[in-house]
């Protein structure tokens, strides 16, 4: 079984987000990067577990980005992926990234393509579905359980207010949500050995850009805590209903 796991690089979770002067890009000064947690903790680990359970197959990780992404990719190899591919292209929209991945995946045909449910920077949740569409394979989003029997996978996914379980035949693509697996901390020997695993750099395919960023804005500041007198339940109800709009 050939498994492809798409991984991206995101700012470390404690990063203070600021933008450049004209608000069109993230200000990257002082930013440290990590592998997107949904990709690392859930998608990659579940792919590795499947391979280990089968005792056969390969797990390939793929990233679209510049050479500066290599440390993040190497972490994926350290956690256990067999090989890595970096499509050498800096920047690009979700569609562009999806086109790059789809081109590679088509040529190398995979049984399953894994994504994280979203990246924790732009939270777009777009690349998985776009790639699946370009590959013309089914896409199952927000997967929290995945079992595979022969060529059939049983997947439980989060839906509004609950979850659903469905069956899908390979090849397919899925996006991983919390619960699909548990984070694996790579050990130091594995990290060292990862240097010997192949990291293939592949040229990007030609694409046309369809999106343009006009500006980014930070969400409005959260308002300060309001203390309500415990005797004054009416005021509490009023605030919850009129201001917080939760009841």
């Amino acid at each position: 079984m050939k498994l492809l796991v798409c991984v991206s690089k995101t700012p470390e979770t404690t990063t203070k987000i600021t933008f450049n002067g004209d608000q069109t890009a993230l200000d990257t000064s002082g930013v440290q990067y990590i592998m997107n947690p949904y990709d690392e903790w859930y998608a990659l680990v579940r792919a590795l577990e499947l391979k280990e359970a089968l005792g056969a197959g390969t797990v390939t990780i793929i990233n679209v980005g510049p050479a500066a992404n290599d440390p993040v990719i190497r972490k994926g190899l350290a956690i256990g992926a067999d090989e890595a591919v970096r499509i050498d292209k800096d920047g690009g929209s979700s569609l562009d990234v999806a086109q790059q991945i789809a081109a590679y995946a088509k040529e190398n045909s995979f049984d399953m393509v894994f994504f994280g449910k979203e990246t924790i920077d732009y939270n777009g949740s777009e690349v998985g579905a776009m790639t699946a569409e370009l590959l013309d394979v089914p896409f199952v989003s927000f997967a929290t359980k995945l079992e595979v029997e022969g060529n059939t996978a049983t997947i439980t996914r989060d839906i509004e207010g609950g979850e659903e379980t469905l069956e899908v035949a390979t090849p397919f693509a899925l996006s991983a949500a919390k619960g699909l697996a548990e984070q694996r901390i790579p050990n130091m020997r594995g990290i060292m050995m990862a240097k010997r695993k192949p990291l293939n750099v592949v040229a990007a395919v030609e694409t046309t850009n369809h999106t343009q960023v006009l500006s980014y804005d930070l969400p409005a500041e959260k308002s300060a805590v309001k203390l309500v007198d415990p005797e004054d339940m009416d005021e509490l109800v009023r605030l919850l209903s009129e201001e917080a709009k939760v009841i």
């Binding site: 990257t28 000064s29 002082g30 930013v31 440290q32 990590i34 290599d70 440390p71 190497r74 972490k75 350290a78 984070q183 901390i185 790579p186 050990n187 130091m188 020997r189 990290i191 060292m192 990862a194 240097k195």
Partner: protein, 600 residues
């Protein structure tokens, strides 16, 4: 989760101030690079976040205890020790052929710093196991190596260092544990060892005690001490059999209450077999060869606690509203809402003091680790030089984090006001935990004697000269930055003053008045370690300046300015304290020397 360290600071020091990349160019480290080391440090941080920090308070609240002849530790300890071994923290610095990864000691220090900051109850278990395995690897027979080391690296067996006896703590020449030679070349061991860290618990199958003992009839003093492997259970063809090592108790302590401190009794039934390591009578020498590493380890642990306390008190200061700032007219506006305490100058002083001590101390610990690497694996012709630099810095690397770290934690606690004194908040635990660092692995008194009576004078003052040379190289680099010139000059002035101080102390030794010479060794330690850490701060200042020009490392301007500001703080608030210490050392009153009359 509360922060207990700043990974940017570790990265700043390891990669930039102490130039990890340069260390990695040494042939022994050819398989490593900065990227993979960073992944390792992140992995250790994740492990510390998920497994170590969450049980830190609990290990203190439900401390290790002794019941029915057994030591009972935290129930989660077993899992943590297995995971630590699996991660590779036992023996990561060992040679490949010994099951290691040939990591630099500098990196080993960084990994243990992270774990110590998260939960200082735990890394001692794996660290001591590693230290014991290292001794066997260096000086033991092939048979001992094959029998014991793999099980220690895998974490299945724990390791300990058994030096202290009820009557022999600082003075190891007084140990009485005895080894009786047997016909088969082994020894029967008999004696009591107290305060043995990690000496027994329910999560390891066996314990490998490295015991200092005197072979029957050996000469008195340190020259008659030998080193033995004495397992709790003897490995035999029929499996593990009890080796007459009795755990007589666990010392109940004010701090590090999750880390057992045992009383072990060997050979009560004359059936405790010991296996000699290396040659007879050379045991203390073997121990001392490992001492530099062990003492760096204690320094690292102390400074890690200071880091954790700093971050906890910083968080509190950023959240606690209290009082109002003084306005330009000298009054306060009662209608203004209370300010956060971090706005008060005195609170900021306490924060800077902690930052100055912990970052400066961490830099020192990494500096010594780097010298350890260079002395072992550096270019052949330079090894002697780095060994001397390591030797002279070791007592300071052990003592500064313990003594000044304690002061730092004390200030952290003070920032919390009354809550600092209450068990609901973690500061009191750090305050209790750090206290031991000035005691074990040689008290501050003993380290100070070592510094002044041995290290300063060894090889005719050569080590001191080399150290001054290193400091002068930093001064040269600092003089290129106009903003740093003032501090470079201050350090230069203090180096000169040190020579004058020694010029007034050393004649006592020359005259044979050793007691007088060493009476204020402790004051000299305080003085000299302030100087050494000032040097570290100047190095950090140079690094911050360089990085702000080149942009390397992608640090924010605020971060680099924070480093420079703290350097200025250290030179303004700490270095001048040396003046008072000089005055003390120059006294001719001889107040502490033994006189006939008792004044107490």
């Amino acid at each position: 989760m509360a922060a207990y360290l700043n990974m940017d600071t570790l990265r700043f020091l390891l990669q930039h101030t102490h130039d990890l990349e340069q260390i990695l160019t040494l042939p022994r480290f050819a398989d490593h690079d900065v990227d993979s080391i960073n992944i390792m440090l992140d992995a250790i941080k994740d492990f510390s976040d998920q497994e170590l920090y969450p049980v830190f308070r609990e290990m203190d609240e439900k401390p290790v205890h002794y019941a029915d002849g057994k030591i009972i530790t935290h129930p989660g300890l077993g899992k943590i020790l297995r995971q630590s071994a699996e991660l590779g923290v036992i023996g990561g610095t060992f040679d490949y052929e010994d099951g290691g990864l040939q990591l630099p000691n500098t990196v080993g220090t960084a990994t243990y710093f992270i774990m110590d900051a998260a939960n200082n109850n735990v890394p001692g278990y794996t660290g001591l196991t590693m230290g014991a395995a290292e001794l066997i690897l260096h000086f033991g027979s092939d048979d001992l190596k094959a029998t014991y080391v793999p099980k220690m690296i895998s974490g299945e067996w724990g390791g300990t260092m058994c030096l202290t006896e009820p009557q022999a703590g600082s003075s190891l020449s007084d140990i009485t544990t005895t080894a009786y030679p047997q016909a088969d070349g082994t020894y029967k061991i008999k004696g009591q060892k107290i305060f043995i860290s990690g000496g027994d618990h329910e999560h390891c199958e066996n314990f490998v005690h490295l015991v200092l003992a005197r072979i029957e009839g050996a000469p008195a003093g340190t020259k008659g001490i030998s080193l033995f492997v004495v397992p709790k259970f003897r490995p035999t063809d029929d499996g593990l059999v009890p080796n007459d090592v009795i755990t007589a108790g666990d010392f109940q302590k004010m701090g590090q209450r999750g880390y057992c401190t045992t009383h072990l009794s060997f050979g009560e039934e004359d059936n405790s077999t010991g296996y000699l390591i290396g040659e007879p009578h050379r045991g203390l020498g073997y121990m001392f060869l490992m001492m530099n590493g062990a003492r760096i380890g204690v320094g690292r642990g102390g400074i890690a606690i200071a880091s954790a306390a700093y971050h906890a008190s910083l968080q509190y200061a950023q959240e606690r509203p209290q009082g109002r700032r003084i306005l330009d007219n000298g009054r306060k506006d009662p209608n203004e809402s209370p300010t956060l305490i971090i706005e008060h100058a005195d609170v900021r002083r306490m924060l800077f003091l902690q930052k100055a001590i912990y970052e400066g101390g961490l830099s020192l610990v990494l500096q010594s680790s780097k010298y350890l690497d260079l002395s072992l694996y550096g270019p052949e012709e330079d090894r002697e030089k780095y060994k001397m630099l390591l030797d002279i810095l070791t007592p300071i690397t052990k003592t500064f984090p313990a003594e000044k770290g304690r002061e730092a934690v004390d200030n952290g606690l003070q920032i919390l006001g009354g809550y600092g004194f209450c068990s609901d908040f973690v500061l009191q635990q750090y305050y209790r935990d750090i206290r031991i660092f000035a005691i074990y692995e040689g008290t501050t008194g003993i380290q100070s004697l070592d510094l002044l009576s041995r290290k300063i004078t060894m090889h005719n003052g050569k080590a001191l000269e080399l150290l001054a040379g290193e400091m002068k190289a930093t001064i040269e680099a600092a003089l290129e930055q106009p903003e740093l010139q003032k501090y470079a000059a201050a350090l230069g002035g203090k180096i000169k003053e040190t020579q004058e101080v020694l010029g007034s102390l050393l004649p006592f030794a020359a005259k044979g008045e050793y007691e007088r010479f060493l009476a204020d060794a402790n004051i000299f330690m305080e003085y000299f370690s302030t100087l050494v850490v000032a040097w570290q701060w100047l190095q950090m200042g140079v690094t911050a300046k360089q990085l702000s020009i080149t942009g390397a490392g992608n640090f924010t301007d605020d971060y680099l300015e924070g480093i420079l500001h703290t350097m200025r703080f250290y030179f303004t608030y700490e270095v001048p304290k040396m003046n008072g210490l000089v005055e003390i050392m120059r006294n001719d009153e001889e107040l502490t020397l033994l006189k006939e009359k008792a004044h107490f």
